[in-house]
Structures are given as structure tokens and as C-alpha cells.
């Protein structure tokens, strides 16, 4: 009987197992609550550091291949044990704290960075019925909690009592505050069209329910893919703006000015060593996962992907492949694109960075909101091509207006 319900819904096995466990513990409600809390937090704290380890390996290997090197290949098969070696090295390193530093702030900064990084993960739906905190205001909560992460970066920069650190901290704040605006404005379109800030509803909005619940397998697959927000003009623009701004928000290349190693040593990380440095690193990567996860949820259909109903199942909403498989696949695809960009693009200059956010991304995001509004009221066969044309015209126009302010071309003379 229990086995039947479990097999009926292959994508819901974990959820149903939890419900069975909760039914067994019914006598003690406190235990059920404790179990629920543990089950919604422990996997986050366990899985994402593991993803972080894999990603450091992927990044080192990928960058190496882009730069025509081999990359880590000594520890384990294809260097797969490299993250473990790195971790042990970081743990055993001496922790050096500068004498003039502000000790408490210096110690607290890396710890505080991890808190928002992990908390924001809890509003992301990883699969159907699998969301740690199904808040009604999920998207806003994500940005609110994410905005705390500027604080530890500033603390790190200020408390180190080092000019490079301070410069890095200032750069980080300026950049994070500027790029938060296009980031939030680009999500407004999705919220408008969905009519909800709830991440679960945003994912459901991107599925064609009557196709998925129908009997045709081809339509079931299409129904999980065709209505993703990225396949509309406003969604595509919004996704690009969101992705670019998120790169700046998590200080990734080409926006890694706060830790520009050729200019200011390592920015706010200069005076950190050993495990504190590793914590900073982990915080950055976990935020990268979180923001890619939000991009996947908002624009790339969340946990929905090419999927069919298992032929033996009675439940019309059952799926063969668990949703979190698709979620993590899409998330890692975005992370791979970030690595690819890091291997390809040079770093921006500070004034270029600011001008790009304020003069290009923000107006485009504002225009995109109007286009999304028009798309909502027009029939789709007009709205889609018209939106595309208007967006392209605005893109070209903004580019041309900005080009006029570039000034005369600089000539560099090398000795």
C-alpha cells in the first residue's frame, strides 16, 4: 500500500516518505515539527557545500581548458579529489589576523556572509512540493535577505585596516547597490505577469497544466517547456538583464572589481587567510547558486523540464523524472556559463561598470516593464513579434545614445 503510493509518484518519493514518517510519529507532534525543520534545513546545508566543492573543481578544470592547460589532475581520478585537498589545506593553514584590525568585526564578517547566502535558498522551490519555506512573498524575501550580504563585505573591508581592503569594500558596496536596481526591475515583469510573488506560483505559471494532465506524452513534454518565461520577448530581455546583474551582484567576472587582483591585491579578502578565506569563498559560491536558482525559477521554468507522466501512474500530476533533477541541471548550466564568461571576458573599469548599470541596464529594464504590460493585454500573436521589435529598437537606441558620450578614442602608447 505504502509502496504503491510511493511508486505512483516517482517525483514525489521524498515528499511522500516524509509524510509517511510524519504519520508514524503522529503521537508526538513536537517530533514531527522537529523532523520537518531538520528535513528542510539539513539538505540545504549539506547539498550546497557539496555543490560548492564540485564547482571549484569544474571552475579550475574549465578555466584550465580555456587557457590551454590541463588543470588539477593529481588528486584522484581527473583531479576530482582536488576540492578535498583544498579543504584540508585551508583547514590546516595558519589564521593570520592583522594587529591593527578590528578583531570582532574581522572574525564576524565571514560568518555573517554565510547566513544570508544560505537563508535565501529556502524560498526556492526545488521540486513540486519541495520548498523549505513557502512564503507568500518569496521573491521580495529573497532580495531582502540577499541585500544583507553587502554588510559583511563592508565589515571585512573596513575591519582589516588595510587600504586595499577598504577600497575593495567600497567598490563592492557601490557595485552591489547599483546592480540591485536592474536586478529587481527585471524580476518585476515576471511578478506582474504571474500576479504573485510566491515562487511556487511563478513556477506553476510557466507550465501548461491541461497539456501536462492530458494523455498525449508529446504534449506533456511540451507543456513543461513551451511556456517558460524566457521564451517571450520580455522574459528573454529580463533573463539577460537578470543574469548580467546577478554576475555583478555576486562579484563574478567580468564584474570582479572588488577583488581585482591586478589592482588592489584581493580587495576585501586581502587580510583573510586559512579557513576564514574559505568561508568567504563558500559564501560567494552559495550566493551564486542561490541567484542562479532564482533565475531558473523566474525565467527558466523552475523545476519543470521535458518530462512525462509514468505510464503506470493514476495521479494526473505525477512525473517520471523528479523535478529537482531539472532544477539542478539548469542551475549548473548557468554556473557553467559563469565559468565560461570568466574565462573569456576581461574585467571592466569602475566607471564603465557604473555607466553600464545606470545608463544601459536600468533604462532597458524599465522599458521591459512597459513591454510586459503591453504583452499582457495584447493577443499573443501581436504581442510576441511587436514586443520583440520594440525591445530590439530600444536596445539599439540605448546603445547609440550611450556611444555618443564615449568621448574621443584613447590612444595608448606602450614603452
Amino acid at each position: 500500500m505504502i509502496l504503491n503510493t510511493l511508486l505512483d509518484n516517482p517525483d514525489q518519493i521524498l515528499v511522500n516518505l516524509f509524510h509517511q514518517g510524519a504519520a508514524l510519529l503522529q503521537a508526538c507532534p513536537a517530533l514531527v515539527i522537529a523532523l520537518g525543520i531538520l528535513l528542510s534545513t539539513v539538505p540545504l546545508v549539506a547539498i550546497f557545500p557539496a555543490c560548492f566543492a564540485i564547482t571549484t573543481w569544474l571552475e579550475r578544470k574549465g578555466l584550465a581548458r580555456i587557457q590551454n592547460r590541463i588543470g588539477p589532475n593529481r588528486a584522484g581520478w581527473f583531479g576530482l579529489l582536488q576540492p578535498m585537498a583544498d579543504g584540508i589545506k585551508m583547514l590546516l593553514k595558519e589564521d593570520i589576523v592583522p594587529q591593527t584590525s578590528d578583531r570582532l568585526a574581522h572574525f564576524l564578517a565571514p560568518v555573517l556572509l554565510l547566513i544570508p547566502a544560505f537563508t535565501v535558498l529556502s524560498v526556492l522551490p526545488f521540486s513540486r512540493n519541495m520548498i523549505p519555506a513557502a512564503a507568500d512573498t518569496g521573491v521580495i524575501l529573497f532580495f531582502a535577505l540577499g541585500s544583507i550580504s553587502t554588510l559583511p563585505v563592508f565589515m571585512a573591508g573596513w575591519s582589516s585596516h588595510n587600504k586595499y581592503s577598504l577600497l575593495g569594500g567600497m567598490r563592492a558596496i557601490a557595485q552591489m547597490v547599483s546592480y540591485e536596481i536592474p536586478l529587481v526591475l527585471s524580476t518585476v515583469t515576471v511578478v506582474m505577469l504571474t500576479g504573485s510573488l510566491n515562487t511556487v506560483k511563478i513556477v506553476e505559471f510557466q507550465q501548461v497544466t491541461h497539456w501536462i494532465e492530458g494523455s498525449n506524452p508529446a504534449l506533456q513534454i511540451l507543456g513543461q517547456v513551451l511556456k517558460w518565461n524566457v521564451f517571450t520577448p520580455w522574459g528573454f530581455t529580463g533573463f539577460l538583464i537578470f543574469f548580467i546583474s546577478s554576475l555583478a551582484e555576486i562579484n563574478r567576472c567580468p564584474f570582479d572589481l572588488p577583488e581585482a587582483d591586478s589592482e588592489i591585491v584581493a580587495g576585501h579578502l586581502t587580510e583573510y587567510s586559512g579557513f576564514k578565506y574559505a568561508l568567504f569563498f563558500m559564501g560567494e559560491y552559495v550566493s551564486a547558486f542561490a541567484i542562479s536558482g532564482l533565475a531558473v525559477t523566474l525565467f527558466l521554468g523552475g523545476w519543470s523540464g521535458p518530462n512525462i507522466r509514468p505510464w503506470w501512474s493514476e495521479d494526473p500530476r505525477a512525473l517520471l523524472i523528479p523535478g529537482f533533477v531539472w532544477f539542478f541541471l539548469k542551475m549548473f548550466a548557468l554556473i557553467l556559463i559563469m565559468i565560461w564568461i570568466r574565462g573569456t571576458l576581461p574585467r571592466l573599469r569602475v566607471d564603465h561598470l557604473m555607466a553600464f548599470a545606470w545608463k544601459f541596464l536600468m533604462p532597458l529594464a524599465l522599458i521591459n516593464i512597459f513591454i510586459a504590460g503591453a504583452y499582457y493585454y495584447l493577443p499573443h500573436w501581436i504581442g510576441w513579434p511587436a514586443g520583440l521589435i520594440v525591445i530590439y529598437a530600444c536596445y539599439e537606441g540605448l546603445g547609440r545614445i550611450n556611444r555618443r558620450h564615449l568621448g574621443p578614442k584613447r590612444i595608448y602608447r606602450y614603452a
Binding site: 568585526a105 558596496i173 547597490v177 574621443p408
Partner: protein
């Protein structure tokens, strides 16, 4: 629920006290942010998660960072300073607080004007309701506020921007 409330209020009061009493400006600002975050936690306890999110977004994400920026851009007050202002500010503050407590708060509490149960039991401060009330009865107010803020923003840019533009020279 109660434990969370006491914990959060203890944190908030500690943060606020430290924000006033600490000599180091940056430390004081950090404590202020801490206070803001614990206040957001109180809002969550009151089931007003939207207000909590906005509290963090506005006060921690914007106001706090602005204060830190102002401190960083001003000379000579970034670190601990030795200057002391010898005033009995805390005495006056304590007196004022006690006066408010005895003349306003305690009589109100003792006369039990406050209802024991919430006035509207089905009140749900959801985002939808906030949005609908902003768009329906308060539309004009919202528009005027938006206009005012835009004017302030443009004014700030006009004040901050320098009119003299350095001539761009090809650098060697």
C-alpha cells in the same frame, strides 16, 4: 512564540543601546543594523512578512549602507576617536523615559484600554491587500509621493554633478 519574542526584543534592545553608547561610529552603525534586523524578526512574528522584508530592504539595504558610505567618505571619523562630550545626556534620557512610562504607558496598561483580542480577527496583511489598497483608495497619494521622490532624486543629481567638465586628453 513567546521565547522567540523575548529573544528578539532582548537582541533589539541590546542593539539599540549599543548603537547609542558605542564610541566607534562604524561599530555603532553595525549595531544599528543589527537592531533593524531583529525588528524585522519581530514583524515576522506578527505574521507581517512583507513588512519584514521591506524593513530589511529599506533600512539595512539602503539606509544603513548609506550611513556607512557617509562615514567612509568623511575624514577622520572612521576609527575610534578620543574625544569625549561630557554631558549628562543619559540622565535626561532616563528621566524622559521614566516620565513617559509613568504618565502614559502605565496608566494605559492599567486601565486596560487595549483590547485583549485583535480587533479584526480575519485581518490578513498579505501583499495582495497592500497592493490593492495602494492602487485603489491611495492612488493619488502614491503618485504624489513618487513625483516628490523623483524630484528629490533629480535635485540630488543636480547638486552632486559638477558643471565643469575636464577636457579629455589622449593619455600617454
Amino acid at each position: 512564540m513567546n521565547i522567540a519574542f523575548y529573544l528578539l526584543s532582548a537582541l533589539a534592545v541590546t542593539g539599540a543601546l549599543l548603537a547609542i553608547r558605542l564610541r566607534n561610529l562604524v561599530h555603532a552603525t553595525l549595531c544599528l543594523m543589527f537592531f533593524f534586523i531583529s525588528l524585522a524578526g519581530m514583524y515576522v512574528l506578527l505574521m507581517a512578512e512583507f513588512i519584514a522584508a521591506v524593513q530589511i530592504l529599506v533600512y539595512v539595504g539602503a539606509v544603513g549602507i548609506l550611513i556607512l558610505f557617509a562615514i567612509m567618505l568623511t575624514h577622520h571619523i572612521t576609527g575610534a576617536t578620543r574625544e569625549r562630550i561630557s554631558s549628562r545626556g543619559w540622565l535626561w534620557g532616563l528621566g524622559a523615559a521614566l516620565a513617559v512610562l509613568f504618565t502614559v504607558l502605565l496608566p494605559v496598561l492599567l486601565l486596560s484600554v487595549l483590547p485583549a483580542a485583535p480587533a479584526t480577527p480575519d485581518f490578513s496583511p498579505s501583499v495582495r491587500n497592500i497592493g490593492l489598497s495602494l492602487m485603489d483608495p491611495y492612488t493619488i497619494t502614491l503618485q504624489v509621493m513618487g513625483l516628490l521622490l523623483t524630484a528629490a532624486l533629480i535635485g540630488a543629481v543636480a547638486v552632486a554633478s559638477t558643471s565643469v567638465r575636464p577636457q579629455d586628453k589622449p593619455r600617454t
